[in-house]
Symmetry: C2
Subunit: 147 residues, 2 copies
């Protein structure tokens, strides 16, 4: 068996981050940033833990990746995130000029597309990778919250 | 003479933050967050210093205000910022449900309005307070950069 560094491989890493958020009672969203098949940053939603609306998974991953690379532009990088970015995260990704964004589950209400926000025109977007797994985790979370 | 805690008074504080950014070679944008006439947070653009696209003045002020208040919602708060927020900062302000946003200079290209992003429907927006001063500082910065 050979390891295949494809979008599913890295989205599984983002899902592990989402599970870490779930275990902390946070809305389960996780993200990793990859360059040349190396994971250089990861993050999961910590808005409740940090009492900070800016502490989305993607924002932490962007900050960590920039720190790792020593530069604020993420050209050549791919962000894997388990939920469609919101307009805040899309705005940060816009400024970073990241090359690719891969997201699992759509966010039909607060996702950047529904809100009218924009990624950078040079950013390639791929969606639906492991969508069912990511959406199931989110549904489990909100079901547990309601009960 | 009585001190008047009006929008001009607090925008002057945001302008002091913008000047601090200017002196560091950063695009000169500053922000403060005020509740009940008390300044509870301030920030200025540090994207170059921190090599981090998320380090806008507003983002830092939002994080600081949430830390001060011990909660992630900024209801009852006003953000004063010297330049119209971008879609990232508008997205963060959206999540914070901040009560008022007052900005000085418009950003016709990368401002949240031009980019199609949204503030929270409950957020009141006031614009143009000390617009000329804020715009002049930005023009000075970009003129110095070019020469």
């Amino acid at each position: 068996m050979t390891a295949t560094f494809d979008d599913v491989y890295f989205m599984k890493k983002a899902l592990l981050e989402a599970e870490a958020a779930y275990e902390k009672g946070e809305v389960p969203v996780g993200a990793v940033i990859v360059v040349d098949n190396r994971t250089i940053a990861k993050g999961h939603n910590l808005t409740e833990t940090l009492t900070d609306v800016t502490a989305h998974a993607e924002m932490q991953a962007i900050t960590a990746a920039s720190g790792f690379l020593g530069g604020k532009y993420l050209k050549g990088c791919t962000l894997y995130v388990t939920l469609e970015p919101c307009q805040m995260c899309a705005g940060a990704l816009y400024w970073s000029q990241i090359s690719r964004v891969v997201f699992a589950a759509p966010d039909l209400h607060r996702g950047y597309r529904a809100m009218g926000a924009s990624l950078h025109p040079k950013t390639e977007v791929v969606r639906g990778i492991m969508e069912e797994e990511a959406a199931t985790l989110l549904k489990l979370f909100f079901k547990a919250k309601r009960s």
